[in-house]
């Protein structure tokens, strides 16, 4: 019986192009703190879901829709129902400061999902978004990433600041919203100013963020 379930499960799981590991890095925040950006482990997914769950009812700055969708995307990742999904976390002393995720459409095209900041006012979101673009272009060696925005803040940060190419005919998964594209040329143009971080990450910062925990209070 067990074998049959495994076979069925195998049929339900998407195929993979094979994700490459993302090297953790340290990002200096304006507050003086050091934020570690790293991939999450499979076992950390429930904690992230628990962390963002209260925000699913927070309408301010569209946190509700972003949190709800990330929750579903993380659940999809946890249940192995999304192809080549990844999720990074920004953490300060183990406290989750922000979450970004996305997936690979194929070897050359990536799809950005979401960027959520739990520690506002320190450019955490901007840094995490840059980190995920770095993953698509500099680690996965992709040609372009499809991006949509669900909030005015996101539109300003990504579409305008990165001068994204409008390509409404591209079918992004997030609700059919007109798609914008970060091409490799645009990435190369902007990455020097947008993408920072210290590698290898300091040992003490890695150690401090080995075990993640929810922020005591999330003020958005």
């Amino acid at each position: 019986m067990g074998i049959i379930i495994d076979e069925m499960e195998g049929k339900l799981r998407p195929p993979s192009i094979g994700l490459k590991p993302y090297d953790a890095k340290v990002i200096p925040l304006t507050t003086g703190e050091d934020m570690l950006v790293r991939e999450i482990t499979y076992d950390e997914i429930p904690l992230l879901m628990e962390t963002i769950e209260p925000l699913m009812k927070q309408p301010k700055d569209f946190y509700d829709i972003v949190a709800s969708r990330i929750y579903a995307e993380l659940l999809g990742m946890y249940r192995y129902r999304v192809q080549d999904e990844y999720c990074f976390v920004g953490a300060v002393d183990g406290e989750i400061a922000g979450i970004v995720n996305g997936r690979m459409v194929n070897e050359k095209v990536g799809m950005s999902y979401h960027t959520m900041t739990l520690k506002r006012g320190a450019r955490v979101g901007a840094q995490l978004f840059a980190a995920k673009m770095e993953y698509h272009f500099d680690f996965m060696n992709q040609d372009e990433v499809w991006i949509v925005a669900e909030s005015p803040n996101g539109f300003k940060r990504w579409m305008i600041e990165y001068e994204l190419e409008s390509r409404p005919q591209c079918p992004h998964e997030l609700g059919g919203v007109p798609t914008f594209v970060l091409t490799r040329a645009l990435w190369e143009k902007h990455k020097a100013n947008k993408n920072v971080g210290i590698r290898p990450a300091f040992e003490e910062v890695i150690e401090a963020n080995k075990v993640l925990h929810k922020p005591a209070k999330i003020s958005v």
Binding site: I27, T30, T31, G32, R123, P152, K156, N193
Partner: protein, 398 residues
């Protein structure tokens, strides 16, 4: 003229307001009235309400806000007018309140400054602020306030040798002060190295209007502040006898050319200098007598330039004073103890009143962790346009 002073202050938390505009305005007013012990209905003693706002009609889509406030607060039939003088609307409203009492026309005036800036997008807000520029000579060419501040900063850099780092020093100081102010929009410390280190400055502190970076300018905020003014000779009769009276000792205001390019010395802020001189003369004090100051730092360069124009430091040496810590809470001339526009926030019409609220708190000894010991006399400079209309106010408890 009669002596005029402040017996009540109110201040909302600046940032993104969760309240409708009129409720936010009334929240500040009620706090000031409660602070003074002022009553409503048939016990009301307020003769006049002035509301300073630059864009209540344009941005918040509410015109005649002063009339609405009087009715909402149940202080009819008090006289009511809305005052518009760009970002100096708040201080202008206080000036008119002062004049109304000093002239003998009124005995008690409620002054509120307010703005709802975050109801619109960032670029709509920037455009709204830019409407105060000259329509033909500046606005139609796409000039904005950050653009002017960038040009002005470059001039000061060339002329006086100040550096981008000096702007950051002012910013870090004001963020530190705002962490001690519960009403401030941004209550997060900023570390100088993190916003100046060339290895990552473009990510942590990106360019907005060259040479200005994000931490060289104020955020966009909603907010309201209020003060209750009374005639000293009527204070007891009106029921404010037991309240601390912070005297408005001097008010000055001055104008300059609308088109900035028409100024004889474009690196000077002539209206700041003239309005401060007028206020000093009226108060019978000089720069050395000022214990604490709130200067209009919509851009960090303005705090530096204004600190020179009001006579605290020689022209071209304000940035050196900031470097030396002279303008910090424990310095010899503390500036922007509230966090300034940089970190407390800058809801345009509210700012001039908010600056005066901070001075009142300092002079009453109620400023908590940011209290300047034995502060007796304070100066506020509220800057309109790009310096074409400035109001300076001096308060004292001496």
């Amino acid at each position: 003229m009669r002596n005029v002073g402040i017996v009540g202050v109110g201040h909302t938390k600046f940032g993104k307001s969760e309240l409708p505009f009129i409720d936010m305005v009334c929240a500040a007013a009620l706090e000031a009235m409660d602070d003074a012990g002022a009553k409503t209905g048939n016990k009301n003693v307020i003769n006049q309400v002035f509301v300073g706002t630059m864009g209540a009609g344009m941005v918040s889509r509410i015109s005649g806000i002063a009339s609405a406030v009087v009715d909402t607060l149940n202080i009819r039939p008090a006289m009511a007018e809305t005052i518009e003088n760009g970002p100096a609307s708040g201080a202008s409203a206080i000036k008119l309140g002062y004049m109304a009492i000093a002239s003998g026309m009124c005995d008690c005036v409620l002054v509120i400054g307010a703005e709802g800036m975050r109801a619109v997008s960032g670029w709509e807000g920037t455009d709204f602020v830019a409407t105060m520029l000259h329509p033909e000579g500046e606005y139609k060419y796409g000039l904005t306030l950050p653009a002017f501040a960038g040009l002005f900063t470059r001039l000061c850099m060339d002329k006086y040798g100040l550096e981008s780092r000096d702007l950051s020093i002012v910013s870090v100081k004001n963020h530190a002060n705002a962490c001690k102010n519960p009403c401030a929009h941004i209550q997060a410390p900023v570390v100088l190295e993190r916003i100046t280190n060339k290895a990552y400055i473009n990510a942590t502190n990106p360019i907005v209007a060259d040479p200005l970076r994000q931490y060289d300018m104020c955020p966009v905020s909603d907010g309201a502040a209020a003060v209750l003014l009374v005639a000293e000779d009527k204070k007891a009769e009106l029921g404010f006898g037991d309240k601390k009276f912070v005297k408005i000792a001097g008010i000055g205001s001055a104008t300059d050319t609308h088109v900035v390019a028409n100024r004889e010395v474009p690196s000077d802020l002539l209206a700041v200098r003239l309005s401060a001189e007028m206020a000093y003369k009226m108060a019978g004090v000089g720069p050395a007598d000022i214990d604490v100051a709130e200067l209009h730092d919509a851009f960090q360069i303005l705090e530096i330039a204004e600190s020179e124009e009001v006579g605290f430091f020689k022209r071209g040496e304000g940035h050196i004073a900031a470097r030396n810590g002279e303008t910090a809470l424990n310095g010899s001339k503390p500036i922007n103890t509230s966090g300034g526009l940089k970190a407390k926030g800058h809801p345009l019409g509210a700012t001039g009143v908010s600056q005066v609220v901070e001075l009142v708190r300092q002079l009453r000894g109620e400023a908590g962790e940011r209290q300047i010991p034995d502060a007796k006399t304070g100066l506020a400079v509220n800057f309109g346009g790009f310096g074409n209309n400035v109001v300076s106010t001096i308060l004292t408890t001496k």
